[in-house]
């Protein structure tokens, strides 16, 4: 009686687990396991069919053949293992394209071939070097650019005005530059007077540049009377050459 009850209990448990396995199998079928994990599905299904009972024809009659209880447990275990493997494959991304296998089947794509190759990879746009348009620039200042003055005069001559205009525009476009203007004289007259005259010459140029829009803070003036002659003062032309204002362009730090 006791043995009968135990057998009955095992049968009940087995029946319940077979149903459970069957449900899992159906679920996997709905998740396209046949395409994603056909091998695992086939193996699991074979064990489940054996658990349910194999059919055999004997004497013209179809008969169900069952296996022993121990074998049932073994096959059940194996069926579970293969179902788990199949489930893992169904939810895995076989081709490493970010989409699980079952989803790819639903979408109609090949789960074993990465869809990445179908996606057009945007080539990084070529960085085309934008050619800087050359703005019409004025000639850069020479360090020894200079203008000349009449005798005992600090008035900027008209002929030099276009030249000063160029300088002022250049300074306006190059904000990092400063200009130092040094006024000079010839050798005629006392030193103190010539110093003042030299400074007036430099100041005259400065005023013109300010008038043209250059910031006064960027202009430095110095007067050097009777100093640093370019030529000797023996001829009229040499003296004229020595009466000058020179520009020294400096870059601010």
């Amino acid at each position: 009686m006791r043995a009968f009850l135990i057998t009955l209990a095992i049968s009940a448990v087995s029946f319940a687990s077979v149903n459970e396995l069957d449900d899992k199998l159906k679920k996997l079928y709905s998740l396209h396991a046949l395409e994603c994990a056909p091998e695992e599905l086939g193996k699991a299904e074979s064990y489940i069919e054996t658990l349910k009972g194999l059919k055999i024809k004997e004497d013209g009659e179809i008969k169900k053949v069952s296996v022993s209880d121990i074998d049932k447990l073994i096959y059940e275990n194996k069926a579970r293992i293969y179902l788990a493997k199949a489930e893992k494959k169904v939810f895995s991304d076989i081709d490493n394209d970010g989409t699980p296998c079952y989803k790819e089947i639903e979408d109609g794509t090949n789960p074993f071939v990465s869809d990445k190759r179908y996606v057009k990879v945007k080539k990084p746009e070529k960085v085309t070097k934008v050619k800087k348009e050359k703005k019409p620039e004025f000639k850069p200042l020479k360090t020894h650019a200079r203008i000349h003055f009449e005798f005992d005069s600090a008035k900027v001559k008209k002929e030099y005005l276009p030249y000063l205009n160029v300088i002022s525009r250049y300074l306006k476009t190059h904000k990092n530059l400063k200009v130092k203007i040094i006024g000079y004289t010839d050798s005629i007259g006392p030193k103190s007077y010539n110093n003042k005259l030299a400074l007036r010459r430099a100041k005259a140029v400065k005023n013109y540049l300010i008038k043209m829009g250059v910031n006064p803070n960027r202009i430095e003036i110095v007067g050097k009377g009777k100093e640093d002659y370019l030529f000797d003062n023996k001829t009229k032309l040499n003296r004229f050459t020595n009466r000058r204002a020179e520009f020294f362009v400096m870059e601010t730090k």
Partner: protein, 97 residues
């Protein structure tokens, strides 16, 4: 090719009745040959589901026969032959199911 598939399919249908009279050892031999044929037809790649079933039923048949459960062994061997033939058929049909 289609004729071949039809022949295979009809073989599947009649196999159970023909092999029913065989002994379990003969059936196991037949199952082994069928699985071998299926493998040679590249069924493991072209028709993996059917091939896996054939292999598993053959394993079950061997297991049951070794435990003297002859009837279960016979039934499993027959199933193995049936699925091996299906696998061959599918392989020749280009892996269609």
């Amino acid at each position: 090719m289609k004729n071949f598939a039809i022949i295979i399919s009809s073989l599947i249908l009649i196999s159970s009745s023909v092999f029913a009279e065989e002994t379990v050892t003969e059936l196991l031999d037949e199952a082994q040959n069928s699985v071998k044929m299926a493998f040679e037809a590249n069924s493991d790649k072209k028709s993996p589901y059917e091939y896996a079933k054939a292999i598993t039923f053959y394993e079950i048949a061997k297991e049951e026969t070794s435990k003297l459960n002859v009837e279960a062994g016979k039934a499993a061997a027959l199933k193995s032959i049936e699925w091996a033939l299906r696998a061959i058929s599918n392989a020749y049909m280009g892996g269609e199911k």
